[in-house]
Amino acid sequence: MLRNVPKEQSNPKLSVVVIAFNNELYIEEALESLHEQTFDDMEVVVVNDYSSDRTGELIDRFVADKPTFKAIHLEENSGGCSTPRNTGIAHTTGEYVMFLDGDDWYTVDACEKMVAAIERTDSDFVGGQVIRTNTYEIWYHKQIYSVERTNINIREFSMLLFDSLSVNKIYKRSFLDKHKLRFPEGIHYEDIIFTGKAYFLAGSISFIPEPVYYWRVVENADAKSITNRRFEFDNFRNRIIAHRMFDEFLRENGDVLYQHNKNNKFLRHDLKLYTNDYLLFDEEYRQQFHLLIHEYMHEAMDEYAFIKLPERERILYYLLYIGDREAFEDYVAYINGLPTKQERVYAIGRQYYFRPSLPGNQHEKFLGINQPEIDFTLSEIQLTEDRLSFRAKALMNSVASSSLTYKWGLKNRQTGERVQGAMSESGLIQFSLNDVSPGNYYLSLYVSHQGNVHKRLVKRGMIEELPNTKVENSTLSKSLFINQKNSFAVKVEPLKTWDQLKWAYERRRNTATAKRNSILDTPFANYLKNLYRKLPVRSDWVLFESHMGKQYSDSPKYIYEQMLEAGKKYKYIWSLEQPGKVDIPGPAIKVKKHSLQHYYYLVRSKFWVDNQGIAHLAKKRKDQVYVQTWHGTPLKKMGYDQKTRPSETELKRLKTQTKAWDYFISPNPYSTEIFRRAFRYPGEILETGYPRNDLLLKQPPEIIEKAKSSLRIPAGKKVILFAPTFRDWDPNSFQKTLEDIQTLSGKIGQDSIVLLRLHYLLSNMISQHNLPANIINASNYQDIQELYLISDLLITDYSSVMFDYALLKRPIILYCYDLEEYVSRRGTYFSLEEKAPGPVCRTIEEVYDFLSHPEKLGSYQQELERFSAQFGVVEDGNAAQKVIDEVFK
């Protein structure tokens, strides 16, 4: 068996074990790479694993005249790498050992570098970089080999487990012998065990950022190497066998603490190889695969091993873990854009999940989906002078299609203009392009599903065939266009030179202004602002604002209107976010909030009337007067009273406001006391009642008429106002509200109408056409006071709406499905359940029960009277006038 035994006296420093099996093509190159090493003090043992080709012959020829090389020919094929490597080790005498496979090769100075590194660090073994020849990238370069690592331990850097190769390392022979560390014979994936054990047995390990080993990757090879035959089930079985041996070793070696690190590598590397190929497996393979992986997972880990993995792996592995093959196969189909057997994707609020087939209440923790998959294709794209049209197929995978609506929209990125698509009778999506301005109109699909809107930009790949069409009229050209990032657009360009120049200028201006947050930030604006501040304050100017300029409403509105009625000689200014969209009666000047003009009036008006806080916008000047009307009787704790003390910055902000206030309007003695304490406000409080509530006591018929007609409420219907508050801790409360109104809609029938009033932050999430006919979205109606007047009944929860509404003495139902949570999060000034002006319901069914039994609701009349009496004690319908008398003397 042995030939060419060298007659060396002293042991060499390094022994290299080369193993070869049918490597006739490459073995010479492997051996030459060793023979040409820059390092001399070494021996090479080549073990031929009973090759059936010329490998043995080539080895013998090569070693013939080289005394430091010897060849060993095994007498039967071992079927793996372990036996030849162990045999090789047994025939070596060096102080250090390295391994080389017969189809790979070393860099010319690999041995020199590795010996130097292990002598320098005195580590038990040292790893060097591996280069794969298909990519020339370094194996685990970023994770492990980017820097030199000296004398580390696997327990401090478990990422090392990802490099489970044995061939790119140099080992102290004493280390291998001390632990009797050899390659396990009779199995494949010997490296997993050998290297794994070595990591945990070694006291210290080092890594050098130098390439030492070329791993020859032959693509499209006829005969795949052992480790690449993933389609044979034995291959998977062998891998699991190796991992089980490694697990057993960890237990015996007292390293169960690190099992999870090992699991992590198994999941992210080993198992992934197989789940990636799952579609290629046949039925028999799949059956065995599910059985074995289920068994193995339950041996080695629990479901929390997946929780931090990327979404796809987390879901795949969890389904394997719970043994849900049906759902697993559906998920594999889902991520490959194939139809699933069941509709499995569902949403709770904004969060999406994949539904398993097996019951259980822990699933959602592991089966969350960040973004649902939406497939769509466009065909028959046509562009004419006045129209873009196409046919579209869109599908949100694995979701019940009845709950989906698909809409298409074009958006001009330069100007922000939008064009909505409409469906023609023949099923074409059409866009009218009659009134477009220059710019690129990008096309998006909007899929709305249970109140969630998913936007997908149309890319070239989703378009079946795209003709290069360009159409022109006398002034504009329109063309189908694909941009650098592969997005589809209709490009509209001016044709005349003068228009082109104008457009180039506008386009620049658009982007330039978009970059600035506000016009007030420009240097020129600063100059103007300083100038404005030097101009005298005008004692007959009054600046109004309500709800940060979002509305023309609340007490500022009623003070303004009362001043008009009283014929006061003032100049009135209203600050609004969108002045163009709000109608204001009388001579008031509307200014856009944050504009220079706004600033001008802000610093020159003697009077500010506002209901939230504008003191931070400009430093109040000495002779200015700030009337803070505030916007409701407090139920939830505010300011200094909050359950958790507000942060320093919050307090600072609050102080900026309270210091600026000259008058504060309070609706009742209860509120007066709270405001003073909660805001630490020492100034004058006008306990006049709320100017906004004057309307509720006067109830002018023309306002009722106007409100009814603008909301198109048919005569004779009972009107229910539904006004839930915003729960900022629960992003899904909106979905809950949607579900509730759907339920209500089904129950109340056609005799009643529900007016839905949502918080302004939510009002844009809903549009009328998604609502049933007996639900009217009144969220964008300017003044809620007017809605009170036209409704016969109120459903609300914790909102100050109830205090105002109680003045009408009309029934109130409090729908507080999360009362305990609200109280514990926010804290309230009194117990709602004790003082409530009506029944406190926990379910929407309970609410309906009261709706359908007016006599039951009527039994709360006493509570309502008491509530109204306490909180409405000063309201007499003249609050606005009282305020005016005090302030505008």
């Binding site: 190159e29 020849t133 070329y214 795209l466 290069n468 592969n486």
Partner: protein, 394 residues
């Protein structure tokens, strides 16, 4: 076959790179088959000869020798008072818009006849962009380098900008095509460069030449230093062998110095430029390409067309589409002198292997044969022209 209108668009029609070479070979073939071929060149070199035959009309866009600068934003430069930059940018824009009109007029000559426009380098697309919307004009864009080489260049950005809507975007290799397909290009295809000649020289005759040959401009990127070093390592094992390097370039002196230092003066010879590559190849044994980056190197294709085995660095995806490792030659890591030297020795010292590789190399070169490639172009024209036909019916 009905006569076709074919226009080649080049940066400089009388440059001396691979692109001009390939285009001129194709152009001659098309002319021979009776097609109407014209060349549209953005610029020209002063008084330089061209590969193109005299009977092919050439139109130069910038006859005044103006060279387009890179696009710049006007406003920030104006703000920082870089008036020269602003002036040159305004000039560029004016020039671009005028020359686009010239291009429009050039193609007006064809009326509504179908024209196949082969854009050899993407630079020209900025003048051709409006043509994309003319139904009778089929623009075929080419990129003659591997995506890895192009990746960090402005050329890559121009490809992303201009080639998405061309009728066909041709790459040199399948891997390059895959890359752009994965970037959302629906129009990619592969077209090999044609070999200008194909004539087998018997393997034993080649072997007896005992000459390793390499060609290319003498610049650092071609890695001739690696070849010289590698040969020097094994020169004593191959006493009768020589290396012949054909080409001129700025690195000539330093290469000559290297040869002297390694004592290879009689073994490695810088032969200078040759007019007759075919005979240079036929009088050698095998070809070594030691470049750092390439596309689909013509030199390897030409070498194989004479039956030369090739050893090449793995410097582009295209290499593996030409050379079969351990079958028609060897592929070695870029810049790895020891491996290259061993493979040179292996091939030079094994006549049986040499002869096997030589046979295989010649068979492989069939893929690049003039006739084969030309017919692929005709198939492509039919495919693109056919599309329009179908649409007219629909």
């Amino acid at each position: 076959m009905p006569k076709k209108n074919i226009v080649f668009v080049l940066n400089e029609y009388n440059g001396h790179g691979g692109a001009q070479r390939v285009a001129s070979i194709l152009a001659d073939d098309f002319v021979q088959d009776g097609h109407h071929v014209a060349v549209l060149s953005i610029n020209e070199q002063k008084d330089a000869p061209s590969y193109f035959s005299k009977n092919i009309p050439v139109t130069v866009l910038h006859k005044d020798d103006y060279r387009a600068t890179l696009p710049k934003a006007i406003s920030p430069n104006l703000k920082s008072l870089k008036l020269k930059t602003v002036a040159s940018e305004i000039n560029r824009r004016i020039q671009l818009s005028r020359r686009r009109k010239d291009v429009g007029r050039f193609f007006d000559q064809y009326g509504s006849e179908e024209v196949f426009v082969i854009v050899v380098q993407v630079w020209g697309m900025q003048w051709l962009q409006p043509l994309l919307y003319r139904p009778n004009i089929k623009v075929i864009g080419q990129s003659h380098e591997s995506y890895i080489a192009a990746k960090n260049s402005l050329r890559y950005k121009r490809i992303l900008k201009y080639y998405r809507q061309v009728s066909k975007f041709l790459l040199l290799t399948g891997k390059d095509a895959d890359h752009f397909e994965s970037r959302g290009f629906p129009n990619v295809g592969v077209m090999y460069n044609p070999s200008p000649f194909r004539a087998q020289v018997a393997a034993d005759k080649l072997y007896r030449n005992k000459t390793i040959v390499s060609t290319g401009r003498l610049v650092d990127d071609k890695g001739f230093d690696v070849l010289i070093e590698a040969f020097a390592r094994v020169a004593s094992d191959l006493p009768e062998w020589q290396v012949h390097i054909y080409g001129e370039g700025p690195a000539k002196e330093s290469l000559q110095n290297l040869i002297s230092i390694l004592g290879m003066d009689n073994r490695v010879i810088l032969k200078g430029q040759t007019k007759d590559i075919q005979s240079a190849l036929s009088s050698s044994s095998f070809f070594v390409l030691s470049s750092k980056a390439e596309g689909l190197p013509m030199s390897l294709i030409e070498a194989q067309s004479c039956g030369l085995p090739c050893i090449s660095t793995d410097c582009a995806p295209g290499i593996r589409e030409i050379v079969d490792d351990y079958k028609s030659g060897f592929i070695t890591p870029v810049g790895d002198v020891p491996v290259l030297s061993r493979q040179i020795r292996r091939l030079a010292s094994d006549p049986a292997m040499f002869s096997e590789f030589s046979e295989h190399a010649f068979i492989t070169s069939m893929r690049f044969e003039n006739e084969t490639i030309k017919n692929q172009w005709y198939d492509l024209f039919d495919e693109l022209g056919g599309q329009q036909h179908v649409k007219e019916r629909a």
